[in-house]
C-alpha cells in the first residue's frame, strides 16, 4: 500500500515536471483559432475573396445607420424622437466635435479604406490557379470602387480628408499624412473609379460592384464637382443600359427580394447579417424605438397625389392609444431584418442627368428626365419652364424621392442652398467636425473651422 502511494506520488511529480518542460511550447504558444495573422490574410483564391467581402462588410457597417442618418436627419423632414444626444445634435444642426456618431462613422469609413487598401496591395501578388485573372480583376475593381465610394462620402461629409492608399501594418504607417483638399480627395475618387471601371465586369449584379456601379458613382461625382457634361455622359451610360429602369410601383424598389431593376448598387442584408434600421423608424407599439419620425411637412408632401404620388408608400400609419401615428416605412422588414441600404438608384441617375442638362441649357431633355421620375411615382409632369425653375423642381423631387435615404443634407450643401432652405447660414457648419479624439491622436489632422 505504502509503496503504491509513494509510486503514485512520484508519478505525479514526474508528470508535472514533464508537463512543465516538454509541453512548454504548447502552453506558451497557443495558436489563435478564430483569427489569422495579418501576413496570411491574402494568400490564395479563398482568402482574396474573403478579404474583398470584408470590405463590403465595412461599407455596410457605415451605411446601415450612420450614413443615412447623416443624410436625412440634418435635413428638415425627419426629427429625432429618441434619447441620444448625438442624434439630437445632428437633427438640430448643432454638431460638436465630440459627437460619438460622427466619430463612429469616421472610424468605420477608414476601416473600409484600410480593407480596400489591403485587397489592392495583396490580390495582385496572389498566384493561385483557382483565382483566374478575370476574377482577380474583379476583386481589385471592387476594392477600387469601394475605396472610391468611401472617399467620396468622406469628401462630401468633411471636405478634404487624409488620403491613405496603402495597407496599415504598424501605427507608423500613414504618419504625417495630413488632410488633402476636397479637390484632391475627389481627384482620388476619380482615379479609383477610372481603375474600377476598367477592372470590373460588365455584369448585372446589384449588390456587388460592376462597371455600371462605377459609372453611376462617377456621374454623381461629376455632379458634385459641377462638371455637368461629364455628369450627363456617365448618367446616360447607366440609363441607356437595358439592365436598369425605373420600376413601378415605387414600392417595388423596397420590396423583397429587393435588387430591383431600379437598383444600381445596394448593400444587401440578411437575417444573419441583420439590418435593424426598421427599429429606429417603427413606433414602440410595433416593436421599434421610433427614433426617427417624419415631420408633418414631409408627411403632407408624400401623401399629396401631386407631389408624392405612389411615394406615399414611404409612410405607414398605426393606431397607438386611440390616435393615428404615421411613421417611416422605407425600412420595414422587422422580422427578416433584410432591408438593404440603398446606395445608387437609377432614379438618381435621371435626376443627375436632369440637373446636368438643365445647367447646360438642355431644358427639354432635362424636363424629360425629371418627368420620367415623376411619371413613375404617378404624379403629373412638371411644368418648370426656366433653368432655375427646373433646378428647384429637381431639388424638390429629390426631397421626396430619396426622403429617408442618405441624400437631403448632402444635396442642399452641394447646391449651396442649405442656408436658404434649412436656415444654416453659417457655412462652416456645412461640413462635419473632425472627431475630437482623432485630432488628439493625430497631429497631422486639422479641424474644420468653426468647431
Amino acid at each position: 500500500m505504502k509503496q503504491t502511494i509513494y509510486r503514485l506520488l512520484f508519478a505525479f511529480q514526474l508528470t508535472a515536471a514533464g508537463l512543465a518542460f516538454t509541453s512548454c511550447n504548447d502552453l506558451l504558444e497557443p495558436t489563435p483559432v478564430q483569427q489569422l495573422s495579418d501576413d496570411k490574410a491574402i494568400t490564395d483564391a479563398g482568402s482574396a475573396r474573403s478579404a474583398t467581402i470584408g470590405v463590403y462588410d465595412r461599407v455596410q457597417a457605415y451605411y446601415q445607420l450612420n450614413w443615412p442618418v447623416l443624410g436625412f436627419l440634418p435635413g428638415e423632414d425627419v426629427r429625432f424622437n429618441g434619447t441620444l444626444n448625438q442624434f439630437l445634435q445632428i437633427d438640430q444642426n448643432q454638431l460638436s466635435a465630440d459627437n460619438v456618431l460622427i466619430t463612429e462613422a469616421w472610424t468605420q469609413m477608414y476601416q473600409a479604406v484600410n480593407g480596400a487598401n489591403n485587397v489592392i496591395a495583396g490580390v495582385a501578388g496572389v498566384s493561385d490557379p483557382l483565382l483566374p485573372a478575370t476574377e482577380k480583376d474583379q476583386l481589385l475593381g471592387e476594392a477600387y470602387f469601394l475605396r472610391a465610394l468611401v472617399y467620396f462620402d468622406l469628401g462630401r461629409g468633411w471636405g478634404g480628408v487624409p488620403l491613405v492608399l496603402t495597407p496599415t501594418r504598424s501605427k507608423e504607417n500613414g504618419q504625417g499624412i495630413g488632410r488633402s483638399t476636397l479637390a484632391q480627395t475627389y481627384d482620388q475618387v476619380l482615379a479609383d473609379l477610372t481603375q474600377a471601371e476598367t477592372l470590373l465586369p460588365d455584369a448585372t449584379t446589384r449588390n456587388r460592384a460592376v462597371k455600371a456601379s462605377a459609372r453611376a458613382l462617377r456621374a454623381r461625382l461629376h455632379l458634385y464637382r459641377q462638371q455637368w457634361a461629364d455628369a450627363e455622359t456617365y448618367a446616360s451610360q447607366v440609363i441607356s443600359s437595358n439592365n436598369y429602369r425605373l420600376v413601378t410601383p415605387y414600392r417595388a424598389i423596397s420590396t423583397a427580394p429587393f435588387l430591383s431593376q431600379e437598383s444600381v448598387f445596394e448593400l444587401t442584408f440578411s437575417n444573419s447579417d441583420a439590418n435593424s434600421m426598421w427599429n429606429n423608424w417603427f413606433p414602440s407599439a410595433l416593436g421599434g424605438q421610433f427614433n426617427f419620425q417624419p415631420v408633418p411637412a414631409i408627411i403632407g408632401l408624400l401623401n399629396d397625389p401631386n407631389v408624392g404620388g405612389s411615394r406615399s408608400a414611404l409612410l405607414a400609419t398605426t393606431t397607438i392609444a386611440g390616435a393615428n401615428v404615421t411613421y417611416g416605412n422605407l425600412y420595414s422588414r422587422s422580422a427578416q431584418r433584410d432591408d438593404p441600404s440603398y446606395v445608387l438608384r437609377i432614379a438618381e441617375q435621371y435626376l443627375i442627368r436632369a440637373e446636368a442638362r438643365a445647367r447646360q441649357g438642355k431644358l427639354t431633355q432635362a424636363l424629360a428626365d425629371l418627368n420620367a421620375v415623376r411619371a413613375r411615382a404617378g404624379v403629373p409632369a412638371s411644368t418648370a419652364a426656366t433653368a432655375d425653375q427646373l433646378l428647384l423642381a429637381i431639388e424638390s423631387e429629390r426631397r421626396v424621392e430619396f426622403a429617408f435615404e442618405a441624400d437631403r443634407w448632402f444635396d442642399l450643401v452641394r447646391t449651396g442652398r442649405a442656408g436658404t432652405v434649412l436656415g444654416i447660414t453659417d457655412q462652416r457648419r456645412w461640413v462635419l467636425p473632425i472627431p475630437f479624439n482623432d485630432l488628439v491622436a493625430d497631429p497631422a489632422l486639422v479641424q474644420n473651422p468653426g468647431y
Partner: protein, 1007 residues
C-alpha cells in the same frame, strides 16, 4: 508546515505527539474541562501543556482532557486558536477552565502565499477577516461581505441585483486596460473571476462568479495588499490577492453538526420622485411657449379644441410601484465537521435564494463542499477541497437600456396610461411597458461550478515537506432567453438566444517547504512551480420568428443562427521565498517569481517579480519593553514588484485579421488589430511601511500602513490615427500611481468573562493619478469619462455650469479656453469617482448569552453622475421622457434664482441640448455616505437549557441591513456603478436597482 492547516499553531504539534509522552511515569493526574467563556460551550482540540515540559494533551469533543503531571510541573498552559492563552496552577484533580476569545490579532497564524506565518514575524500588509464575522450578512458573494472590514479595500456593489457584479479595489486602480480586480485563491485554487453571462443587460457586469461560493463555508479571508505579500503571485499579484480558506475538520474533534438558516425581507429604502400628470402637462405647455409656440396651440389644452386636455385633467400613473417589491431572501445551511487523528472532514450543503427588490430578477444557489484530509502514514498526507455549486439567475436588463424594467417604468411619462383602450400593454417612445416586461421576461442563466483541488504532501524530514496539488476551476454558464411578442425585444414574432459559456482553469503546482529553528534563529523557505492553462469557449445560438409565444426553444424558430468562439492562454511560473527570523524580533523576507505568459511575444515572455520585506519588533527590545507601555510594537517595511496581464486578449501581441466580416452570406475577413511584438508585462512597483502597536494592556491595537505604488508599462489601448483603419493598438505605454495610507484601530473596551466589547475602526485614503499617457482617452456613455495625464482615473469630463442667467433663464457655462463661445474645448474634468477616504466601523458586544454587533461603512468625496436626472430633468428636449420633480425648480421669469435653466428645446440656448448635449456638471453629485451596513442582536441560549432539548448550542438573532444611509446624494443609492461593464468608468447612476434595506431573522443550531 502544512500540518498547521489542521492543527494551526506550532504548539499543536506537541499535542499531536502527546500520546508518546503520556506514558512518562508520575503519580499526579489532572483532568479538566475547557469551555468558551462566553457561551460555556465545551472546546475541543484545545492544547494543554505543562509549562516547561513537553507534556501535554488536547481536549476531546466534550472539551475534556486528562494528563499526568511530570515531576515539578504544576502550571498548565492552555491555548487554542482564536482564544487568549491561559495559565492555571494545578496540583492534581479536576479543573475547569474558561477561555476568552482572543480579540487581538498578534498571535494569529496568517496564511500567506504558499505558506503560513505567525503574525509576529509578518513583514507584509495583510488584513484578515474571520468567516464568523461574515456569515450572517445577507449577500450572495463573499467579496461583498468584505465591505468596511479591511482598510484599503474598497468594496461596493454595482447595484442591488443579487449575485450581480462587485467593484473591488485593493489600494486603488493600477491599470487602464488590464484588469484591476484582485486575484482570488480558494484553498490554493486560482479561481476565474470573469463574468460569463453573455446576455446584455445594459452595460452592467451582470454576474459575479464569486457568488458561486457559499460564504458560510469560509473559515477566514486574508487580503494580501503589499508587494512583499503578493510578489509570490507574480504576474497575477499586482491588484492584491484575496486568499479564501474554507472550513476543515479538526483532529480529535467529535463530529459537530450545525444547521443555520435565516429569512429576510428587503425593500428599496427610497423611491424616485416623479412629477404628477398635471405637473408634467404644465411643464410641457411652458416649454411650448418658451420655444415660441402659439399660446392658443399649447399641447395641453381642452380636448374639444384639439389638445390633450388641460393640465389639471391629466391623470397620474404610478409604474414604479409595479416594479419595486418586498423581496425575500432565504438561506439554509447544514454542515458537519469532525475527524479522527488520521482523517478530518468538513462537509457542508447550502441553499440560498434572494429576490431583487426590482422585479423580476432573482438569484439562487445550491452549494456543496467536501474538504477531506487523511494521514496515510506519518509522512504522507492526502486530501481534497472540493466545492460544487449550481446557480440560477433570473436576469433582466436595467441601467443603460431603454427596454429595461426600471427604465420603462421610470422614464415613461407619468400622464400616459399603462394600457391601451383594448387592454394591451401601452408603450411609448423607445421604452417598453414595465408590466409587460415583468410578466414576460424569460431570461434564465444557470451556472455550474466545480472548484476542486487534490493534494498529496510528503514529509521527507521533520522540516522538509513536498506538496503537489492539482486543481480545476470549471465554470459553466448556460443561458436561455426567450422574448415573446408582448415585449419589444421579441418583435415582431418572438426572438430567442441561447449561450453556453465555459471557462476552465487547470492548475498544477509543486511546493517544497523547509522550516528550521536553531537557537534563536528560524528559517522558513519555500520553492515551487505552477503551470496554469485557461480555456474559454462560448457557443451562441439565436432564433427569430416563433410560431407561438408558448414555443420557446430555438428549435421552434423559423430562422436559426449560431456562432462559437474559443481562446486559450497559458502561464508557466517558478517561485521561491525565504523568511529568516531572529528571536522573532528581527525578520527578513525575500521572494521572487518568474512567469512566462503565452500572451506576449517570445522575447518578452518572461517576467521576474522580486520582493523583500523587513520587520523589527521594537517592543521586544529592552529599551522599549522597559517603558512598559507597549505590549507590541513592530515596524515593517517592504518593497517589491508585481505584474499584470489580465484583461487583455489572449493574442494581443499579434497583428490579426478576423473572420465574421460577412456579406451576402459569404465569408469575409477584416483587419482586427495591429501587431505589437514588443508587448510585455505591465508591472507595479510598490513599497510599504507599516507600524503595529498594542498598548494599554492589550486594550488598544493600532495598525498603520503607508504605501506607494507605481505601475508602468501600462497595457494600454493607445489611440492611433483613425486614418490607419484602427482606433488603437495595445502597447506598454503610460503609468499610473496610487499612494495611500491605511489605519486600523481596535479597542477592546471590556474583556471579562461576562462582558466583552470591542470596536474596530478602519479608514484609508488612496490617491490615484495617471502619471503618463500618450493622449487623452475618452470612455463611457457619451464620452463622459476622460483619462488625462495628471488626473485620476474615473474623472468626469463635462461642461461646468456656472449658473443660470437671472434675466434670460439660460444656463451659463465656464468658457474654459476663453474664446467667447462654448465648444467641446470647454469640456473639462470636473471631479472623479474616487472617495477622499473610506472605511468602516465594526462594533461587537457580548454580554452573557447576548451578542450585539454593528457595521458602519463610509466613503467621502466620490462624485456620482446621476443619469436619471440627466434624462428626467431635460427641459422638454426628451419628448418621450417624463420629469423628476426637480424640473419644477426651473427658471420661469426674470429674477428667478435657480440652477435649473428655463425649459426649451432650442439648441442654441445650450440649456439641455445643443453643443453641451446636457453634459453639464449640474448632474454630477457628491456621493459621500455613511451607512449602517448591518445591525445585529443575537442570543445564545444557556448550555443547560439547550442540553434539555438534546442540542449542543442554539443562537437566534435579528438583523437589519442598510437601516440608514446618510448622504447628500439625491439618487436612490450612492453605492452604484451601473456601467460596470464599460472599462474605466465608475459611479454612473442610471435606472439601477438600489441596495435594499433588509430585515432578517436567523437561527443557528448545533445538533
Amino acid at each position: 508546515m502544512k500540518l498547521s492547516t489542521l492543527l494551526t499553531a506550532p504548539i499543536a504539534v506537541v499535542s499531536f505527539t502527546s500520546a508518546s509522552y503520556a506514558q512518562i511515569a508520575s503519580i499526579q493526574t489532572v483532568t479538566g474541562t475547557v469551555t468558551d467563556a462566553t457561551d460555556r460551550s465545551p472546546l475541543p482540540g484545545v492544547t494543554v501543556v505543562v509549562r516547561g515540559t513537553t507534556t501535554g494533551a488536547s481536549t476531546d469533543g466534550n472539551g475534556q482532557f486528562s494528563l499526568v503531571l511530570p515531576a515539578g510541573g504544576n502550571t498548565l498552559l492552555i491555548s487554542a486558536v482564536g482564544y487568549q492563552s491561559q495559565t492555571v496552577s494545578v496540583t492534581g484533580g479536576a479543573v475547569n477552565i474558561a477561555l476568552q476569545a482572543d480579540v487581538k490579532q498578534l498571535n494569529e497564524v496568517v496564511v500567506t502565499g504558499y505558506s503560513e506565518q505567525n503574525r509576529k514575524t509578518l513583514t507584509s500588509a495583510i488584513s484578515s477577516v474571520k468567516g464568523d464575522e461574515l456569515k450572517d450578512i445577507p449577500a450572495a458573494s463573499p467579496d461583498q461581505l468584505l465591505q468596511g472590514k479591511a482598510p484599503g479595500v474598497q468594496v461596493s456593489a454595482n447595484s442591488g441585483v443579487p449575485g450581480g457584479g462587485i467593484f473591488i479595489r485593493i489600494r486603488g486602480s493600477n491599470s487602464v486596460n488590464a484588469s484591476n480586480d484582485p486575484l482570488y485563491v480558494v484553498d490554493g485554487v486560482f479561481i476565474n473571476n470573469t463574468n460569463l453571462l453573455a446576455t446584455g443587460l445594459g452595460n452592467q457586469v451582470s454576474s459575479n462568479p464569486l457568488a458561486d461560493l457559499n460564504p458560510q463555508d469560509i473559515e477566514n479571508i486574508e487580503i494580501l495588499k503589499d508587494a512583499n505579500a503578493t510578489a509570490i503571485y507574480g504576474s497575477r499579484g499586482a491588484n492584491g490577492v484575496v486568499l479564501i480558506t474554507t472550513k476543515r475538520g479538526k483532529a480529535g474533534d467529535k463530529t459537530r453538526i450545525t444547521f443555520n438558516t435565516y429569512q429576510a425581507w428587503s425593500k428599496a429604502p427610497k423611491q424616485y420622485d416623479l412629477v404628477s400628470g398635471s405637473e408634467l402637462a404644465t411643464l410641457e405647455n411652458e416649454r411650448f411657449l418658451n420655444d415660441g409656440g402659439n399660446p392658443t396651440q399649447v399641447p395641453y389644452r381642452p380636448v374639444d379644441s384639439g389638445g390633450r386636455g388641460l393640465p389639471e385633467e391629466q391623470a397620474t400613473y404610478d409604474r414604479l410601484s409595479d416594479v419595486f417589491r418586498t423581496a425575500r431572501t432565504q438561506s439554509y445551511e447544514l454542515s458537519a465537521a469532525g475527524g479522527s487523528a488520521k482523517t478530518q472532514f468538513y462537509i457542508g450543503g447550502g441553499y440560498f435564494k434572494q429576490e431583487s427588490v426590482a422585479r423580476p430578477s432573482s438569484f439562487d444557489r445550491f452549494s456543496l463542499r467536501v474538504n477531506l484530509d487523511n494521514s496515510v502514514t506519518d509522512k504522507l498526507r492526502i486530501g481534497t477541497s472540493t466545492a460544487l455549486s449550481r446557480t440560477h439567475r433570473n436576469v433582466s436588463s436595467n441601467d443603460n437600456n431603454p427596454v429595461g424594467v426600471i427604465n420603462s417604468a421610470l422614464f415613461t411619462r407619468s400622464n400616459l396610461p399603462k394600457f391601451n383602450p383594448d387592454g394591451s400593454y401601452a408603450k411609448y417612445g423607445s421604452f417598453d411597458n414595465a408590466q409587460a416586461l415583468i410578466n414576460n421576461l424569460n431570461n434564465d442563466a444557470v451556472g455550474s461550478r466545480v472548484i476542486s483541488n487534490v493534494y498529496g504532501e510528503y514529509r521527507f524530514l521533520k522540516n522538509l515537506t513536498l506538496r503537489s496539488s492539482w486543481s480545476i476551476d470549471f465554470n459553466d454558464m448556460y443561458e436561455n432567453n426567450f422574448n415573446n411578442t408582448l415585449i419589444l425585444a421579441g418583435q415582431p414574432r418572438g426572438t430567442a438566444n441561447s449561450y453556453l459559456s465555459r471557462d476552465i482553469t487547470l492548475l498544477n503546482e509543486q511546493t517544497l517547504n523547509y522550516h528550521v529553528d536553531f537557537g534563536d534563529h528560524s528559517i522558513q523557505a519555500v520553492v515551487g512551480n505552477t503551470i496554469q492553462k485557461n480555456t474559454f469557449q462560448r457557443t451562441s445560438l439565436a432564433g427569430q420568428q416563433f410560431p407561438s409565444n408558448d414555443l420557446t426553444t430555438i428549435a421552434s424558430a423559423a430562422t436559426q443562427t449560431g456562432s462559437s468562439s474559443r481562446s486559450q492562454a497559458g502561464l508557466l511560473s517558478y517561485f521561491g521565498k525565504a523568511t529568516y527570523s531572529f528571536k522573532q524580533r528581527y525578520t527578513a523576507d525575500v521572494s521572487v517569481r518568474a512567469d512566462a505568459s503565452s500572451r506576449f511575444g517570445q522575447d518578452n515572455r518572461w517576467g521576474y517579480f522580486p520582493a523583500v520585506g523587513l520587520g523589527w519588533r521594537l517592543g521586544e527590545e529592552s529599551f522599549i519593553r522597559d517603558l512598559n507601555v507597549f505590549q507590541e510594537l513592530k515596524l515593517r517595511a517592504s518593497i517589491g514588484k508585481t505584474g499584470n496581464q489580465a484583461g487583455i486578449s489572449d493574442f494581443a501581441a499579434l497583428g490579426l485579421v478576423q473572420g465574421g466580416a460577412n456579406y451576402l452570406d459569404l465569408p469575409g475577413t477584416a483587419p482586427l488589430q495591429l501587431a505589437n511584438p514588443n508587448l510585455s508585462w505591465e508591472s507595479t512597483r510598490q513599497w510599504n511601511v507599516g507600524l503595529d502597536a498594542t498598548v494599554l494592556h492589550n486594550r488598544l491595537l493600532l495598525e498603520l500602513n503607508y504605501y506607494d505604488k507605481y505601475t508602468s508599462g501600462l497595457l494600454l489601448n493607445v489611440p492611433v490615427p483613425r486614418k490607419t483603419g484602427f482606433a488603437s493598438v495595445v502597447e506598454n505605454y503610460g503609468a499610473v500611481s496610487n499612494k495611500g495610507v491605511e489605519v486600523q484601530v481596535t479597542a477592546n473596551w471590556v474583556s471579562n468573562p461576562a462582558v466583552q466589547w470591542s470596536t474596530t475602526f478602519n479608514v484609508a485614503r488612496n490617491v490615484n493619478k495617471i502619471e503618463k499617457l500618450a493622449s487623452p482617452i475618452t470612455t463611457g456613455s457619451r464620452d463622459i469619462f476622460r483619462l488625462e495625464e495628471g488626473a485620476p482615473l474615473y474623472s468626469f469630463w463635462l461642461y461646468h455650469q456656472t449658473g443660470v442667467n437671472r434675466e434670460s433663464g439660460d444656463a451659463e457655462y465656464q468658457d474654459v479656453n476663453g474664446d467667447g463661445q462654448i465648444t467641446v474645448a470647454d469640456r473639462k474634468l470636473v471631479g472623479n469617482a474616487w472617495p477622499n477616504y473610506f472605511g468602516g466601523v465594526t462594533n461587537s458586544v457580548t454580554y452573557k448569552g447576548f451578542d450585539f454587533n454593528f457595521l458602519l461603512n463610509f466613503e467621502q468625496g466620490a462624485k456620482i453622475m446621476n443619469m436619471n436626472r440627466f434624462f428626467l430633468v431635460h427641459g422638454g428636449t426628451q419628448s418621450n421622457i417624463g420629469y423628476l420633480r426637480e424640473q419644477l425648480d426651473r427658471w420661469q421669469k426674470p429674477g428667478d434664482v435657480t440652477n435649473i435653466p428655463r425649459l426649451t428645446t432650442n439648441a442654441t440656448s445650450n440649456n439641455y441640448g445643443g453643443t453641451v448635449q446636457n453634459l453639464s456638471d449640474r448632474y454630477l453629485e457628491d456621493g459621500s455616505f455613511l451607512r449602517l451596513r448591518t445591525l445585529t442582536l443575537g442570543y445564545s441560549l444557556p448550555k443547560a437549557t439547550v442540553s434539555k432539548a438534546h442540542l449542543n448550542s442554539l443562537r437566534v438573532y435579528v438583523q437589519a441591513a442598510n437601516l440608514f444611509t446618510i448622504t447628500p446624494y439625491s439618487g436612490l443609492d450612492p453605492e452604484v456603478n451601473s456601467q460596470s461593464g464599460v472599462s474605466n468608468t465608475k459611479n454612473f447612476d442610471w435606472a439601477t436597482v438600489p441596495q435594499p434595506r433588509t430585515f432578517q431573522v436567523g437561527v443557528t443550531v448545533g445538533l
